[in-house]
Point group: C2
Chain length 493, copies 2
Amino acid sequence: MQHSYAQLAQRLKHDLQRQRHQAGDKLPSVRQLATSEGVSTATVVRCYRLLETEGYVEVRAKSGMYVADWKAQQAARRTLQAAADATTPPPVRFEQLASLQHRMSQLHALTAQPLTLALHLADAEPGWYPCEALARAGQRLLRREPQGLGTYLTGTGLPALKKALIGHLARSGMDLGPADLLVTSGATEALQLALRAVTRPGDTIAVESPVYFGILQAGELLGLKMLEIPCVAGQGMSLEALEYALAQHGGVRAVVVMPNFQNPLGTAMPDAAKQRLLGLAERHGATLIEDDAFGDLAPGLDRPRPIKAWDRHGQVIYCGCASKSMAPALRVGWVVGGRHQRTLESLKFSNSLTTPWFEQAVLAEYMVSGAVAADLRRLRERLAATVPPATEAVRAHFPAGTRVAGPAIGWWLWIELPEGLDTMVLLHAAVRHGLAFTPGALFSSAGKFKHHLRLNIARPWTRELALGIKTLGALAQAAASHPAGAIAPAPSP
Amino acid sequence: MQHSYAQLAQRLKHDLQRQRHQAGDKLPSVRQLATSEGVSTATVVRCYRLLETEGYVEVRAKSGMYVADWKAQQAARRTLQAAADATTPPPVRFEQLASLQHRMSQLHALTAQPLTLALHLADAEPGWYPCEALARAGQRLLRREPQGLGTYLTGTGLPALKKALIGHLARSGMDLGPADLLVTSGATEALQLALRAVTRPGDTIAVESPVYFGILQAGELLGLKMLEIPCVAGQGMSLEALEYALAQHGGVRAVVVMPNFQNPLGTAMPDAAKQRLLGLAERHGATLIEDDAFGDLAPGLDRPRPIKAWDRHGQVIYCGCASKSMAPALRVGWVVGGRHQRTLESLKFSNSLTTPWFEQAVLAEYMVSGAVAADLRRLRERLAATVPPATEAVRAHFPAGTRVAGPAIGWWLWIELPEGLDTMVLLHAAVRHGLAFTPGALFSSAGKFKHHLRLNIARPWTRELALGIKTLGALAQAAASHPAGAIAPAPSP
């Protein structure tokens, strides 16, 4: 999807590359170009900013826009790249963190930085997963079926995996047959396909607020308008706010929810509220897209029921995956889309053909090995164990007035710092100390949660983690005692 | 993307499910519903057809539309599904083969049928791939890095794989750095991302004709209008026809080509034509999306240059993969998108996060093992060996007047049967004999190539293959001697 400023920039670049202008030539002023192109000055400003970022244009103070010596810059860049070690991380474009289109990629770019404590993504301690069992299952598989890596896989999912999933999901109250399931590349692809199945660009969907930034990026790239519905403590999405929004907007195509451990609040929606939500969606003809990535990690004995389990009219598209509960690196997810299933299948084939054989087969073997229940229990216990010391550390070291939202499973802490403290600015300082977290602003497209942050604590409570939280707290304290948003000099660790 | 007939059908289904009508009630006539809904009668007809297919509506001859007893039907279906063996293949919906949206999924459904000779997809003999080497590399990997399956992968591609790909693509004349490459789930995802990066719904793109049906399905699901540009023997896309179309339409956003062994014609575009094509695209401001899935399989010593190798202005988005030349089940592809690279990365993250670690690591190991050149040579020889006997068999057994297009690598035969012979009808008969091929109609959205078919011959010349071609020829002969399209009684094999 190309905005008009990007199209204009592309055409200008073409001209520059064809030598229509030489390095050092003066370019039209913003007003001149807006008039000659018949676009707004805002569009021209964005266009010139883009060209400046890419090295084609330079701004000379009080003078205007000039053609930069882009050829020399590109040659230099290529030489540098060729010489650089293949593992040199690309720089983080902090300004793109705030952009809806790029926030996820920039967050991942953060990961490539040299960080002591990378707490900005949703990954848990690798050692908490049954890696050895998965690796052994993989080796057995490759010995037994070496031709597996040479055979084109077809269909909507490996039969052995579907069988295992049917058993697994039956425990959640979902009664499925093989034709009801489509295996995807993680819940990410499941959500993407679900959105594409029921919306077109220009449509409106309702999402939780705060909401996982992946949904915001997906919605933006699909050209969707997103209504951010506030959440209430202990429930998740406010059904009153949703009811109001659905009635007022009239024409919301889908409501995207994470009722079992919302990302980032960690709330669990009670059954009664789930049923009300389903009824609301039915009455307004909106598809409920349910992301159940964390559903298996509920504390306690009873696995919470997905909303899909109550769905009699095909109102819900259910998305799940193994990435959080069983095996992060397998990238295996699934979607149960009811009446939309054939459309989802066609979209999947068109999108990425099939999910690879190996991962599906490994997961299937693991799921029927009998180890899942015990591994999940152990994972839940470990997640829960870090919560008290981590929460305590935040209370001890962060500025007065800091609030920590209740995390139900322990995967992360949603921390609200005193108002006026900009956590995006804090991130700059934190990265210099080798620490990363997710700034709250990423969880909204409307500029909310600027003084919030999400901290990943899905790892053992170690001295390193304790020190990281202490340092982060100190940086926040320093920022709090300076004018709003200013970056304080680094305190001694 | 939902068409208006589908939206209307959805609303009617809602009404039916809410018991607004009882089984046996008469529904509005086509004209009545068109008037009351403010849509065309064509839309209502399509709507009613969809509801009929799904069992909600039944047509009573000379009487009209009635509500079917859909609840009983659904209950019966669920019971059947629950009782059925998980491996029962879903029926092939032949009528959906012709639909742009579903043709690929239905083609894959064909594969689930009990077929002796499944020659309708683009898979080659699994034994022709270095399966054992890949399996051994996989086992080594899992022993060395068992935590690999527990660690969330981030970034735009495993560094080791990027390094191997840079070396591999350098031999094609492409000079890349790690930031220029994005690893995708096969060329399928690469093409999908490329289309989404440079088009919006409603835009127009130019494609070859005949063209790989995956492109048609992708374009349809993205809401794109597709201009089908005829190909010429020995070249591929006709540049004169393309020039005319670009000038006449004015505003074509992208041109999708497979210049190295076009699917399904097998043509290889000469270098001079490639450069003309690039110039054409530049002059008209259209992005060239290049699918190079088969490029490594050129006969002879010189690997053909991708058009990307001549690209100085970022006009080309290059898509490649390992699925045809090295390892079909790995689902690893790559995209080199020049100025669109950051957009492609954001789309990828939003689409499926990352391509799994295991497949990337296995491919990287294989690519640096030194075995690639010899394995590719052997694969090319084997592909070429089947061509003469297969072509001979077609000439011997198919109806007089049948023409076989020259296949440059031997992956398939593009067969033109006498006009009037409907290969979609022939497919029905063939499937009953356990044979499948790809009907020509799938390679166009405009109803062309009805008497063509694509036959996959990427397998050893065996008695089984010989018998299959003989049987298919006999079926075609029988159909040719009957009135156009009629299905003849099965001849004795």
